[in-house]
Symmetry: C2
Subunit: 301 residues, 2 copies
Amino acid sequence: MSLLVVGSIAIDSIHTPTEVRENILGGSATHFSYAASFFSSGVQVVGVVGDDWQEEHTKLLTDRGIDTSGIEIQEGGKTFRWTGKYHSNMNDRDTLEVHLNVLENFSPDLSDEAKRCPFVFLANGSPSTQLKVLEQMTGPQLVVADTMDLWIEIERDELKKLMQRIDGLVLNDSEAKLLTEEENLVRAGQKVLEFGPKFVVLKKGEHGAMFFSKGESYVMPAFPTPDVVDPTGAGDSFAGGMMGYLAQQNNFEPKTLKEAMAYGTVVASYIVEDFSLDRMKGITREEIDQRLGQYRQMLSF
Amino acid sequence: MSLLVVGSIAIDSIHTPTEVRENILGGSATHFSYAASFFSSGVQVVGVVGDDWQEEHTKLLTDRGIDTSGIEIQEGGKTFRWTGKYHSNMNDRDTLEVHLNVLENFSPDLSDEAKRCPFVFLANGSPSTQLKVLEQMTGPQLVVADTMDLWIEIERDELKKLMQRIDGLVLNDSEAKLLTEEENLVRAGQKVLEFGPKFVVLKKGEHGAMFFSKGESYVMPAFPTPDVVDPTGAGDSFAGGMMGYLAQQNNFEPKTLKEAMAYGTVVASYIVEDFSLDRMKGITREEIDQRLGQYRQMLSF
């Protein structure tokens, strides 16, 4: 089934303890859609860029069968830019610079085709923008949203509204603590459910992810890789792998959701092995399935 | 098979964000042996206490079939005391007070029976003391040691000697980073192997544990519990569950080691649910096996 993602498209500059890479492709919708394309053949991306946007970036996505007709190019505008610096643990990071540029007044206007997508991912963006997208949808089957600390702090009311209208929420551990004022992650995850979503995915970076629903909760560790080059996009790639698999399977039964969590974990373990989409460009669905097999084996005893 | 543990026996005072408990039973050898007793019927504990030691503490151990004849009571001395305060995340902690007391000049003198134990755990103690114990052993089958940041900093040479003579090393993530100067935990674990041990268990607190040997490496997440009351002793209980299971199975093949890691994880998930040994006192091996089943189910997809 087709899968819509609405989110940021960015030009990133990344500082790691050993290297600096400037002006590389990034953004939540970019990472999500690329990862999802290994599973779903009907990925549609909606976002905005400036006239500094390079056609080769679009080609990278269309080459994977992603429908990029929803990427709006604003003449006279500049693409969203983010500069981040990772700490030596490669898990914590500081934002050095943010230029919202065309993202500042981004108000997604969906095509009829996009409106009819049964699977929807509202990547990181303000809850009010996420709600605007949701209002345009004509009966989606599954809506999952991502959020972040900024929105929990400055748009908590809109976020609460959003949480009552979505099926799943994806957020990281510190954000879950901030939202619920609970330090224990199991309690925090369970408390997020009370805000409305039917399930919650709590991302723990290098420590993996937790899943919470009324019926069950579980933890999945990250797939251990010694080659962490750049963690940017890991969370969005995780979500892309997860949602891509759900769209491919065309259901979100507990069993499928768990498999989707595992696929998300495996995809995230690839993205961190190089900058931008560089590692993802070199892999195949077969390699993903092979690593999934290793992951399954690792967790069997 | 019989299982020897040499380590600290302590009277702890614990400050958590919501409660203070003073003068409760603690110590690495205590937590280890109690956890191990659910698996192995031949647990022997060697340690030292002062004449402030209460007979009821010994009884708690002997009631579980633990051989406490190796606990030396020093007349005129006081038992080792530790006071710690947990941060709100219940994972980080500060040591408020340490009184080594009788532990300061503790030089374990093993009985003939202890010397012949095939399974040995050298709980946290100085590497030179751990080496002294090792020298008294008559052909153990499996020796595993624990270490901590203090010894990495002040007795690195003795620790290096120790690592060449043991089968397994258990340490936590920050200690592995300190020892190897590697920030990536997979690399850190693999680098510890180069110091000599045949396998390394890297504990990550609430995030579980990693296992490294020449042949394989894997991660096991912690069993998620919403009821974290006091994490003291979780690491030693993990090791006790792990070693107890190995002693019971009388082998340390890769398959058995992985099951042992899972049992250690499950035992650690109980100990944190109350202070001291209070939660452990109320459980049975059947309950441990039941939670192990839940854990296995959680990791299956």
